[in-house]
Amino acid sequence: MSLEKQDVLKIAHLARLSLDDNDAEQYQHSLTSVLDLVEQMQSVDTDGVEPLSHPLEAKQRLRDDVVTEENRREAFLANAPQTEAGLFLVPKVID
């Protein structure tokens, strides 16, 4: 399994990570070596084996549909890089 530089740039875009050309080349090597490492899975016969997503195969619990949280708007906004009038501020999205 060998990734091209274009593949790395596409993965980085999907993951929303900025990469320069130098980074992309480094990751091309390091991602390829991880994919080589996991390649040995493909030789294992797993026909009829169900995927295991939770070690104890627990099901999600349901709770009553009631309000359990108080409004802590100020506390949650306090960590944001930019806020205005009680809202999170981001760069302009629509021209």
Binding site: V8, I11, A12, H13, L14, A15, R16, L17, S18, L19, Q26, Y27, S30, L31, S33, V34, L35, L37, V38, E39, Q40, M41, Q42, V44, T46, V49, E50, P51, L52, S53, H54, P55, L56, A58, Q60, R61, R63, R72, A75, F76, A78, N79, A80, P81, Q82, F88, V90, P91, K92, V93
Partner: protein, 486 residues
Amino acid sequence: MVDQSIASLAKKLRAKEISSVELTQDYLARIKQLDGQLNSFITVTDEVALAQAEAADKLIAAGSTSALAGIPVAHKDLFCTDGILTTCASKMLHNFVPPYESTVTGRMLASGAVTLGKTNMDEFAMGSSNENSHFGAVKNPWDLEKVPGGSSGGSAAAVAAGLCVAATGTDTGGSIRQPASFCGISGLKPTYGRVSRFGMIAYASSLDQAGPMARSAEDCAHILQSIAGFDANDSTCSEVATEDYTANLDAPLEGLTIGLPKEYFGDGLNNGVATVIQDAVKEFEKLGAKVKEISLPNLNLSIPSYYVIAPSEASSNLSRFDGVRYGYRCEEPKDLMDMYKRSRGEGFGKEVQKRIMVGTYALSEGYYDAYYLKAQRIRRLIKEDFVRAFNEVDVIMGPVAPTTAFGIGAKTDDPIAMYLEDIYTLSINLAGIPAMSIPAGFAEGMPVGLQIMGNYFAEAKLLNVAHKFQQATDWHTKNPSLAEGA
């Protein structure tokens, strides 16, 4: 002071031989004196600690029976602590002050434990050497040229050097057990779901589990007692009742059947480590245990399975760091996409970005079945190996890692070699069973940990087995000269 157990300190606190404030001042002074050499703390919370110690002294005077009341501890810097900087050792969270408390730290506070500070770690818990920290590498107190292990390396180094009585850690693929082994302390990864993950900054949600790191199995038992048990705030937290983890520590081991998986003693295991483990097993035979060779045939597959599942879950979990609500935001973003990409590209370190990209690839259209689902099918095979084994034996023993602590920088050029070193710990997280590392001797002057694995929710049994070993041996009381001299 470095030798003091939670039980002996609790006795002294109640006999008024020492106050929690005095004890806390002693530990804060040790941190100031020694941590410049170790870099085990990211944040030291002097004022908070002294205020908590004062409150604990009142609690003790009022008759509190909690073993942790007034005991100074440290928390891995991925547990959210209300009003205290929580960085996950990342530039991404260099300024994050949580507005709430994790269940683990909250329960320890309720038990009266005193928070000395937050310990260094591999960024977002990704690493086995504690070299991947935005705040610099942590040094091993037994040899400052060597790594303490990771990702809970700061917690392990701090406990080993006597900078706190005990600490919390988290273990996704060995991050409590391997640093405990490298630093010569005791660490327990509980059954998946035994301890709440609420307020733990997530790495791989189906594998992450918090646990105690301390000087002895008995100390681990006291901490587990405080933190274990159901929590409605974590949808994967188990409703299985907790046990009294200190009640049966002294139960005799006659008739105990120990499984030795042949895959844990094959090629790649350092001779010095192998000798220590074999000697430890002989010690258990003296205590009345029987030994049986077993096989965990899919052990080798734990590495590829883990390095698909963990990065996949990480890529999903870490998508929350977008530069909008908390954490790092790049300077002067051109537009929203530029802000996402540069905030994440500049805020995350290289290892974290690599794992995010591995996961993104494994989960992307056309690859999901071949990677993520395949890894989960193999995960079931690994679990079934353990289920079969525990039909025949009570506990399983083996090494924690193939070697002792390696040199700082020795493996940074070959990350795959570092991944392969996780061979003895990853399968435990994939199966979700509990496991401990306890000090069992030394190889070339560095500590070696014995790994003890148990069946689901058998924490009390593991602690009993470990405690009996520590009653018969004194490996867990050894201190690095750095700690003795202070």
